[in-house]
Symmetry: C2
Subunit: 204 residues, 2 copies
């Protein structure tokens, strides 16, 4: 046990992350956030102009981080499939490392007021577009299945995002194991096609 060296601002933010995730934005009283941070409610206003500003900062920070990681991956050399695996790994790694933060992003978009909402949604759109561009490239190259790229991007993002809801750091699986399982599901699907040659799948 050593003394807490985080700045008050950081403590407030961490407390907000915890309570927004546990109770939801509207249900989390500023007094409780302050209490968790070890100060009085009024003191928060020296560091943040409003409760809403706290929410926006949390969402903005990690959406930008998510986008930055994906941009870096897409800019790297390597095949579409390799970059897709890297994208999946990055998404899951961030969503497990910043579990609460991304859970908030995923569930509290509605709590954003006015232009804050537009701003965060624009970042989310950007992320989706980056992934869609990769998938599109793969489909055109013929290395990915011909599919609806928009829908496929939603599917991949949804399943990888939801890891933040159920993953437990001390649970049965490591992050790497989760990444491997998801990668395989996304790449090959669930249905086994043993030595498929010419014959069609049984699907109508």
């Amino acid at each position: 046990m050593q003394t807490d060296t985080r700045s008050v601002r950081e403590k407030i933010r961490a407390a907000a992350v915890q309570l927004f995730a546990e109770m939801g934005y509207h249900a989390a009283p500023l007094r409780d956030i302050a209490s968790l941070a070890g100060i009085q409610a009024a003191s928060i206003y020296y560091h943040y102009p409003s409760k809403q500003a706290l929410l926006v900062e949390i969402m903005d920070t990690h959406m930008r981080q998510l986008n930055a990681h994906l941009e870096k991956i897409l800019a790297q050399p390597g095949s579409v499939v390799e970059r897709l695996y890297a994208a999946i790994a990055s998404h899951i790694r961030l969503h497990t490392t910043y579990k609460a933060e991304f859970f908030i992003i995923d569930t509290e978009i509605r709590a954003l007021e006015g232009e804050n909402r537009e701003k965060i949604l624009a970042l989310r759109d950007e992320y989706e577009h980056l992934l869609q561009r990769l998938l599109q490239e793969g489909v055109e190259q013929g290395v990915l299945q011909p599919t609806d790229v928009k829908v496929a991007s939603f599917a991949v993002i949804a399943m990888c995002t939801e890891v933040a809801s159920w993953f437990r750091a001390q649970g049965r699986l490591t992050v790497q194991q989760v990444i491997d399982i998801y990668s395989q599901i996304i790449a090959q699907g669930l249905v086994r096609h043993p030595e498929r040659k010419q014959e069609e799948s049984e699907r109508t």
Copy 2:
């Protein structure tokens, strides 16, 4: 334009569904729900004991409906793969038909108080277990890829559930098209393996 034949209770519930979905449970004032239903806020209490009861009824109804549909599908004859396709179709069909209701189920679990939360979570667990049993059977039969059945069930449910967030009835795709696209992604994955025979996939 004909007269509204829905009971007042139904109107209240429909209004609650709309506003809970649009604004979130805590952000939706009972006065607005009443106004949408064409009555005064106090009149709601003749039909429902509390705001919370309204939320519980909405969630409970549709979680039970979802489970009932899946149970029926699993009890039918047919291969695991056929039943999996039927399960996906059922999930997506319900999540697009009752888009707002399932969006609420997906985002407002935290708003449930005390034992209400346990009750709804138990229903969700039940659904997951039903799907897991099907997947497990498929893996054991060798018709599904060897995978982590729990994680696979989360992945399938997450991606199919999120359809409720983006689907628009008047949008580019019909429900059936969405079902077909998702079925293919879940079954075969995104990576193409042209005439794969013995050679391994390029994945490390």
